[in-house]
């Protein structure tokens, strides 16, 4: 029995993985069971020696706290990187931990010595410290170091990937223990790697990052919403948004599984604070996912998001409205049935309203106009009739001289499409020219004739339909 108690390092190694709180609890427990003063003495003496020998470990937090913002202390720590490297390569976990913490701290300072750290050869050790046997704190410091390196230049990030960090990260995300803080950091680290380039992003996705990310989001949406739970959600949603974007875009098949969760996320209530950020990330994701083929748009519609999207256009948060407008605009690029689906959700009044609203940034008005233009360009004649009846010619005319060229062009194209449809539908007289004239549409188009890109289109339109 005493033998067991005396083996402090053994206890720390296998039972508590350097979790200090638990360890202290255990220490109290074992003192409770000691029977004689003599055995207490023996243990106390061992303990003090143990504390002294592992001074580095027991004082690492204070040492880092003291060094923060103190350039001399930081420089001193920087100079001792070789000792830290040796400690990390040793078999002593408490020294490994203390060294990892120090290096990780140095990497969090203003001028992180990323290259020095990479050249010292410890990156594989950081990765190694992510395996089961090491404690929570140890993993946290290691991930944070890898995160810092992954945020560096492309070449620096390569060092992280090269030593197999990604599969270890994913294992951590999957682990059954809660450890929100660690998972948050891992999610962020994966995001920073994916953010480096589309190649990196695809690499991250290939290892199956999405599944644990989505299940974390899925599992942590229930109350109580503890702070650390919310920040974990945010890190996951942020990384999710990162892996959904980029040019070239990721293969849709790799990310379509996100849709059910995104639908849940855009129903979060109330979307304020960090939850608001998660919400916004979800909207952003939808805007990326909707930007693609008809199949992709169909997937979105099948995910049953249209009605919610219409509701979201009434939100006061301009960012969210902007992302939704992009999504809607993308859906309008789909086939007739898809356009019909969203029009049936009574989207048009909201778009008309937004195209003229002063409540948001000007971009919202433009995006709303673009969305209407997309509908007008891609919709069937019947759908165009519906649009015109709803009053969408006004906004198109309003924004035709928009300082944003893209909006301007889209509005011109939209008008052209409306006029074309009218030509077919109204054989005797192009009825819609009258409405356009009412909004001084042709007058505005006239002003575009000198435009180097679209001047010709404007001229043709005037010649064909102008009064």
């Amino acid at each position: 029995m005493l033998m067991f108690f005396l083996s402090l390092q053994f206890i720390m190694k296998w039972l508590f993985k350097f979790d200090k709180d638990k360890w202290q609890k255990r220490q109290r427990q074992m003192q409770k069971n000691l029977r004689s003063m003599e055995s207490i003495r023996k243990i106390k003496r061992e303990l003090i020696l143990f504390f002294k020998r592992n001074h580095e470990f027991f004082h690492v937090e204070r040492c880092i706290e003291d060094a923060a913002g103190d350039p001399i202390a930081i420089q001193k720590m920087f100079d001792s990187i070789p000792v830290m490297v040796r400690d990390m390569m040793s078999g002593n976990e408490s020294f490994q931990l203390a060294a990892t913490a120090r290096v990780s701290f140095l990497l969090s300072t203003e001028n992180p010595p990323i290259d020095v750290v990479i050249q010292s050869g410890v990156v594989p050790h950081f990765v190694r410290f992510l395996i089961e046997q090491y404690g929570f704190q140890h993993k946290l410091y290691s991930v944070s170091a890898l995160y810092a390196i992954g945020k560096g230049s492309l070449e620096q990030a390569v060092a992280v990937i090269k030593h197999g960090a990604i599969p270890m990260f994913i294992r951590l995300l999957c682990c059954s223990e809660e450890c929100y803080q660690l998972k948050e950091l891992v999610a962020a680290a994966l995001g920073s790697l994916a953010n480096q380039s589309p190649d990196f992003r695809d690499y991250v996705l290939q290892f199956g990052t999405l599944t644990p990310l989505l299940s974390l989001l899925d599992n942590h949406l229930e109350p109580p919403m503890l702070h650390e739970k919310i920040t974990l959600l945010r890190a996951c949603s942020n990384t999710l948004a990162i892996v959904c974007q980029g040019n070239p875009a990721p293969s849709f098949n790799q990310i379509r599984s996100a849709l059910p969760i995104l639908r849940r996320l855009i129903h979060l209530n109330p979307p304020v604070g960090v939850i608001g950020d998660v919400f916004e990330d979800a909207c952003l994701c939808l805007s990326y996912l909707s930007n693609g083929s008809a199949e992709q748009i169909q997937a979105l519609i099948d995910a049953d998001v249209c009605a919610r999207l219409v509701m979201l256009l009434g939100f006061s948060d301009g960012k969210i409205v902007e992302h939704v407008l992009r999504t809607v605009g993308n859906i309008f690029k789909g086939v007739d049935s898809q356009i019909q689906k969203i029009m049936d959700a009574h989207i048009i009044p909201s778009l008309l309203y937004l195209s003229q609203s002063d409540n948001y940034d000007v971009e919202v008005r433009w995006d709303a106009a673009c969305a209407l233009s997309n509908a007008a360009r891609r919709g069937s004649n019947e759908q165009i009739r519906f649009l015109v009846n709803q009053g969408c010619i006004g906004p198109l005319c309003d924004h035709i001289l928009c300082p944003d060229r893209k909006t301007s062009i889209l509005c011109l194209k939209g008008l052209k499409s409306v006029l074309k449809a009218s030509e077919i539908m109204h054989s005797t007289r192009n009825l819609y020219t009258l409405i356009i004239t009412d909004f001084d549409g042709f007058g505005k188009v006239e002003k575009l004739q000198s435009d180097p890109d679209i001047g010709e289109m404007a001229m043709k339109l005037l010649m064909k339909y102008g009064v």
Binding site: M3, L6, S7, Q9, F10, R28, Q31, K32, N33, L34, R35, M37, E38, I40, R41, K44, R45, I48, L49, K52, R53, H55, P82, V83, R86, D87, S90, G91, N92, F95
Partner: protein, 868 residues
């Protein structure tokens, strides 16, 4: 000087005369030692002198050669060795002459004195002719001289280690002894002396026991002697058999059947002293077989050089009935006499050992006896049955025993309350205690005690607290083990509902008028302590309530004034029990944060009481109070500083107590406790403490067992005060260095090796404490000059190859601490040392987890030291 008269006066009934005589003897000795010893030996040898003076002269001579205390003995040995050679020769010649004196007291005293001289001189290769001259004409001597010679040989074998006498001389001694023992020797005294001499010589007969013929002969002679008409010879012969059984177990196979027959006869028919030895023979065989089987159990490789012959297992069907018979031979008053030892008790003890040796196999042999006797009207039969049952509870498997216990338990509980015989109740309570000791507790995982019968058990045991003192004492013992079984029971203990009642009953017992008998009061406090120790968080408030109660008891014990010396002794004993109880309570409540804080408010009062306990005595301090103060220090932490001004003088007094060295040792331990509690606040007292500790180390009078803890205490102080230790560094280091030199290059018996290892451990703990205490201070360079010696010391003990695991672990840790603190300053030194190579590698591949850990620490520290 007319020594005869002085020696006569020294035995006078008149105190003044006696005192004067003692004084002049002392003066004589101091002024002229050789002359003094010569006249003593002359007196002893002189047939014309009165027997009393001859005897006293011999006695004084003998005492001038040996003493109990280690250091005194050493002085006397040195004194004799440096004595003038002529004088020594004369003294020895006189002694040898005395062996043929017709006065038996003179012969006997001379025998002992010769053995003492031999004990000093033979290991020094002096007096080589002694054995030869003793044996030269042993067969031509008259019987009385022959007897004296044999007696001398016996004493000699007792005094001298076996390796000192060469085989040739051993053979001669054994021949003389065996001749003296043989049936052809007509003189009883000679035969007795020879038999007793053989007892002491058995350890010398290693080679003779290997030789089949010689062994057969020796065994035959011993066995024959067990049949001698003289009972003292029979007893001595059985004592020889006992000694042979433990020394030459592996050679007994051929004789065991005969020995069995002899012992059975002795147990059944012989006088008690002989019968006791006959039983002892089987107990000794059990001890041997238990050891062998245990060793075998630990180490399955089976390369142990001793095989088990399973003598007990084979003898079981005949041995057990014989032992059971003895159980019926109780004495009427054996329960009242603490030192009682009789054939029934020896038989029961042996039965217990047999049970441990053979395990389950004993059960079927004993159960019928229990069943037959347990309900008989004669108390002897009921008691014997209960005793038999209690004796076999250790050894057999729980699976085998639990069904029996389940059947017996209720019967036993009712016997404990209702049996008319106090003997039966006494043994029943004892047997219940054994049930709880071996068949109850989380380690056994048995179901003997359930939530339901626990209540009943508790009630019956508490009821028995009112019984006769011997029964109540056994009931306390049973309760002790009942409580102990619930030690690791978790948050809730089945004893919780009766906790208050148990405590109350035990306190009541301590107040019984007759609590002084059968050590009842002590047992009650021990049980109370165990109940507290094994209590759970649930009952912490009740334990806390006990604090003021025990404090009040202690307070009351301080009131008694003008006590007689007997009264004072009793008072001191009671205070010891109360301080011990408070220590346990403080330790218990101090071990968890919440209860520690509720205990805090009592600290001042408790300390006040302890200081008063100290003040009660003038010259010495109270050991238990000292220990309890150590417990207080852990509870109060740095706040203990406020008690130091008053407590310090007692601390110093304790450290100065060389006579009662346990007190000194306890105090040294408490210094360590206080260091850990006060940390740098100990500084103001360090001068005094360090001075005293250094003084203790250089004293020859202090028992050596206190020295290793003193060294460890250096480490504790250094860890507490850090670089402030600089002040004492030089002194401490030179004391350590001297001790370190003494603790390498020692060859000796197991006891010496054990001591050497504890000394090394103390030294090493001191080094570790000093290095870690100085670590990351600006003064680490002060330690650099000591590094070469410390590394040499480590290399030295490594090369001795006799260190135990604890030393190994501590030693390799010191290597790490040295590297850790000195860093690059010691890099190359360390790399040159043997310790950093072979020793470290050996430790790294050790199977002992703690050694391995220490070694890994050292490896890391060294690698860091050389990486900078």
């Amino acid at each position: 000087m007319e020594v005869t008269q002085v020696l006569l006066n020294a035995q006078s009934i008149d105190g003044t005369v006696r005192k004067n005589a003692e004084e002049s003897l002392k003066q004589f000795q101091e002024q002229n030692l050789p002359g003094f010893l010569l006249s003593l030996s002359g007196e002893l040898a002189n047939e014309e002198k009165p027997v009393e003076t001859r005897k006293l002269a011999g006695l004084i001579l003998k005492n001038a050669l040996d003493a109990k205390e280690e250091h005194r003995k050493f002085e006397l040995v040195q004194r004799w060795l440096s004595l003038d050679g002529n004088a020594k020769s004369q003294i020895k010649a006189s002694l040898l002459t005395t062996l043929s004196s017709i006065v038996s007291d003179a012969r006997s005293t001379a025998s002992q004195a010769i053995a003492k001289v031999a004990g000093i001189e033979l290991p020094q290769k002096q007096w080589p002719e002694l054995i030869g001259s003793l044996l030269s004409n042993v067969n031509q001597q008259p019987a009385h001289a022959k007897q004296a010679t044999l007696e001398t040989l016996g004493y000699l074998c007792e005094e001298v280690p076996p390796n000192v006498i060469d085989q040739d001389q051993v053979n001669k001694i054994l021949t003389a002894v065996v001749q003296g023992m043989s049936a052809s020797e007509v003189n009883t005294d000679v035969r007795l002396a020879a038999t007793r001499a053989l007892y002491n010589a058995i350890g010398f007969a290693q080679a003779n026991f290997i030789n089949d013929m010689e062994r057969d002969y020796l065994m035959r002679v011993v066995c024959e002697a067990t049949l001698s008409p003289e009972s003292r010879i029979r007893q001595a012969a059985f004592e020889c058999l006992v000694s042979i059984s433990s020394t030459y177990y592996e050679k007994l196979a051929a004789y065991i059947q005969d020995i069995f027959n002899i012992t059975v006869k002795a147990v059944r028919e012989d006088e008690e002293p002989v019968a006791l030895q006959a039983i002892e023979f089987w107990s000794s065989i059990c001890d041997e077989e238990i050891d062998i089987l245990e060793e075998f159990g630990v180490d399955f490789t089976g390369d142990s050089d001793i095989t088990c012959f399973y003598f007990i297992k084979q003898a079981l069907p005949a041995l057990v009935p014989m032992l059971l018979e003895t159980l019926l031979k109780q004495e009427e008053d054996q329960d009242q006499d603490e030192g009682a030892w009789n054939i029934a008790m020896a038989g029961g003890t042996c039965l217990g050992l047999v049970a441990r040796t053979v395990g389950d196999d004993i059960v079927p042999f004993v159960v019928p006896f229990i069943e037959e006797n347990i309900q008989k009207p004669d108390w002897r039969q009921r008691e014997a049955a209960t005793y038999a049952f209690g004796s076999i509870l250790e050894g057999p498997s729980p699976e085998k025993l639990i069904p029996l216990v389940n059947v017996a338990l209720n019967f036993m509980l009712s016997a404990l309350t209702k049996d008319p015989s106090s003997h039966v109740k006494d043994t029943t309570a004892w047997a219940l205690g054994r049930i709880f000791e071996f068949l109850h507790g989380s380690a056994v995982g048995s179901t003997v005690i359930t939530q339901e019968n626990c209540q009943q058990l508790g009630t019956v045991l508490l009821q028995s607290m009112n019984d006769a003192p011997n029964v109540a004492e056994k009931a306390c013992g049973a309760l002790y083990f009942l409580a102990q079984g619930y030690e690791e029971v978790g948050p809730s203990s089945p004893l919780t509902p009766f906790f208050q009642e148990i405590v109350q009953s035990l306190l009541t017992v301590t107040h019984r008028e007759d609590a002084g008998e059968s050590r009842l009061r002590t047992a009650a406090y021990e049980t109370l302590n165990e109940v507290v120790r094994c209590s759970t968080d649930e009952t912490a408030p009740l334990v806390l309530q006990l604090v003021p109660v025990i404090m009040m008891e202690l307070h009351n014990s301080l009131e008694g004034q003008n006590l007689s010396s007997d009264g004072r002794e009793k008072q001191s004993e009671l205070q010891g029990l109360l301080c011990g109880c408070l220590q346990v309570i403080i330790q218990k409540l101090g071990s968890s944060e919440p209860t520690k804080y509720v205990l805090m408010p009592f600290a001042d009062q408790v300390m006040g009481l302890f200081l008063r306990v100290f003040a009660c005595r003038s010259a010495t301090v109270h050991e238990e109070a000292m220990l309890a103060i150590g417990a207080v220090a852990y509870v109060t932490g740095a706040d203990f500083a406020k008690y130091m001004p008053e407590f310090y003088r007692y601390l110093e007094m304790g450290l100065q107590n060389f006579e009662e060295y346990q007190v000194c040792a306890v105090t040294v331990g408490v210094v360590g406790d206080i260091c850990r509690a006060l940390e740098e606040k100990i500084v103001p007292y360090c001068d005094g403490i360090m001075t005293q500790l250094l003084k203790n180390l250089s004293s020859n009078q202090l028992n050596r067992s206190v020295k290793p803890p003193i060294f460890s205490c250096f480490g504790d102080i250094a860890l507490a005060v850090g670089e402030y230790f600089e002040k004492y560094l030089m002194w401490a280091m030179s004391a350590l260095q001297r001790a370190a030199e003494l603790s390498t290059h020692v060859a000796g018996d197991d006891e010496l090796t054990e001591y050497t290892n504890s000394l090394r451990n103390g030294i090493l703990e001191a080094y570790s404490g000093i290095f870690q205490g100085f670590k990351s201070s600006a003064k680490t360079q002060l330690l650099i000059p000591y590094a070469p010696h410390i590394l040499q010391f480590l290399d030295g003990i490594y090369m001795e190859k006799d260190m135990d695991d604890v030393v190994m672990k501590t030693a390799i840790g010191v290597l790490g601490d040295l590297a850790d603190t000195l860093g690059s300053h010691a890099g190359s030194l360390i790399q040159q040392s043997l310790s950093s190579k072979d020793f470290l590698n050996e430790c790294l591949s050790s199977e002992d987890l703690m050694i391995k850990e220490s070694a890994e620490w050292a490896k890391l520290a060294i690698s860091r030291a050389i990486s900078v």
